[in-house]
């Protein structure tokens, strides 16, 4: 007597279909109950139905997407790096898999980023049927705040603090400095030039990439530079010889340097000469003769007024 088959399932969609002739077409993971029927005829009674549960498991380890912080990596590579935004911390990581695979440590977790550096998390995917595995490496890089690792000096130098005792324990061996994204130097420090007038560009953004001893490349956030004027002025040489050149060095902001006026007076208050200048360094030629053994030099510029005594010999 012929046997025919039927199937039942509890899920929304069947895990497989079974034809009446008994052909099972596997569609997805899940389970279904297949029942064999043998109907009777005029001579035979029908046989009792026989049922069997069929469980279908998945060997698919496909990860549809990985979301780190605010960025979604669709069809992710096996090794992905995420650079935290400046100020962003402890990003949440979500791994999306639609094939019931087991995800280690879990499908959602947080990477703690207490200090700048690269944090590596390995993620293991094991298929539902246990036959297939896949591994993903997720790297989260937390950049340095620019001035957390960089020190600015003389309005001219940017240097990387490479003292592990004062920089949070980092030891760097190589450096790359960037100004507006362009590589400008590969030393531990960058200098804008040898002259006092060579100042860092306050209209540019600077950043630096640092290679640690173990080969990791860390970077800083981009930062603008603030030029700090000491608002001081220097005169040299002092004492100065009659007829020689007196140098005035004024570390004033650019707007104050505009229309700076330098006046020379004798001790008795007689004006000898006045020089207009708008540069940091001004050289003043002293007269060949003088009855005074001391000059009073007065710098006036915007809100700043400074006076100095210079001995003449």
């Amino acid at each position: 007597m012929p046997v025919r088959y039927s199937f039942t399932y509890a899920s929304a969609l069947p895990a497989a279909t079974v034809s009446a002739s008994g052909f099972v077409n596997l569609l997805r993971s899940g389970q279904l109950e297949i029942t064999a029927h043998q109907d009777g005829d005029a001579n035979y009674l029908a046989a009792a139905d026989v049922s069997q549960i069929l469980v279908i498991k998945n060997n698919d380890v496909t990860v549809t997407s990985i979301t780190i912080g605010g960025e979604v990596f669709n069809n992710p590579a096996k090794d992905i790096t995420y650079l935290l935004e400046c100020g962003e911390n402890n990003p949440n990581i979500s791994i999306l898999n639609n094939t019931n695979a087991t995800i280690t440590p879990s499908a959602n977790f947080i990477v703690q980023t207490p200090k700048p550096g690269i944090y590596t998390q390995n993620v293991g995917i094991t298929s539902q049927d246990g036959s297939t595995t896949a591994n993903y490496i997720i790297r989260v890089e937390k950049p340095f705040g620019f001035y957390d690792i960089v020190k600015q000096k003389f309005n001219n130098v940017l240097l990387v603090n490479n003292n592990p005792q004062t920089n949070g324990g980092y030891e760097f061996v190589a450096y790359q400095w960037f100004k507006n994204g362009q590589l400008i130097g590969t030393g531990q420090y960058y200098t804008a030039g040898d002259d006092v007038s060579n100042v860092l560009d306050p209209n540019a953004v600077y950043s630096v990439k640092m290679t640690t001893k173990d080969g990791s490349v860390l970077q800083t956030c981009e930062s603008v530079i603030t030029i700090q004027n000491s608002l001081t002025a220097k005169l040299y040489p002092n004492p100065v010889e009659i007829g020689k050149t007196l140098t005035v060095e004024a570390d004033f902001p650019a707007e104050d340097l505009q229309n700076m006026q330098i006046s020379l007076y004798t001790v008795s208050g007689k004006l000898i000469k006045t020089v207009q200048s708008s540069s940091v360094i001004t050289e003043i030629q002293l007269p060949q003769a003088t009855e005074s053994n001391m000059y009073l030099v007065v710098l006036e510029s915007g809100s700043i007024k400074k006076s100095f005594k210079v001995i003449v010999k």
Partner: protein
Amino acid sequence: MKKYIHNPIKSLTTIAALILICVNSYGQDKKQEISIAIGGPFSYLDYHSAGGKVAGNGFNAGIRYSYYLNEGLSIGISAEYQTYNSSGKFGYLAGQYMATDAEDENFQFRYKASNFREEQKLGYINIPIQLQFETPGTSKLYLAGGFKVGFAVSGTYETRMQYLTTSGYYPQYNVELFSPAFAGFASTDNLKTAKEDLDTDVSYSAIIETGLKQKISDRNWIYIGVYLDYGLNNIYDKDNTKNLIEYHPEQPVQLQYNSIIETPFANDLKLISYGLKLRFAMH
């Protein structure tokens, strides 16, 4: 002292001329002798140094008054001007010390120099006092010995370096800045410093001189001899702990170059002079 004797040679010449005139007017006093002398050429500053030292040349010129106790023994006092010249040499020289920069940060100032050479020149007015023995006759042998006190009237040094690197090491950042130049950190080729003053102390020397004294006319004699003046004391007994290259935060671009004499690179500075001495004397 330096300030008051502007031209020692000129002063000495004037004094010599005056004394000669006086002696001539004194007439035939055989008990006295006035002489003028020049000597040289070896005249240098001797000092202990970790590097090399090149003894230079100098000369002395002076006038002496001698009083004869008897025919063979006289006592003399002189005034002479003498120059001394030496060079200190180092193939390589380096130093470091803690300093504070213009931004009030502490750092270690470092310098390295190659083919360093410093030339020292001193001028002294010496007052020798000596006893002189001489044999009788018109051709005499003489031997003189004594000591002299010297007062510095001039002293300068000048330095050349084939290569000088100055840098700032900031231990707090573990960084060594080799620039910018305006902050005092630079590399310079063929550096020559300005001539600077070198102040030295009074020198005490033992002196000895011997040779031939020949009569050339009724009242005039010529001495031809060899001499040695050997300094007994350190003429730079001041604090010699200065740094060879000095950093000043108020003007870091202009480094101050001190003499090796003022630094621990050289010590125990003495004056030495020897050579030939020619003397023209009048009784």
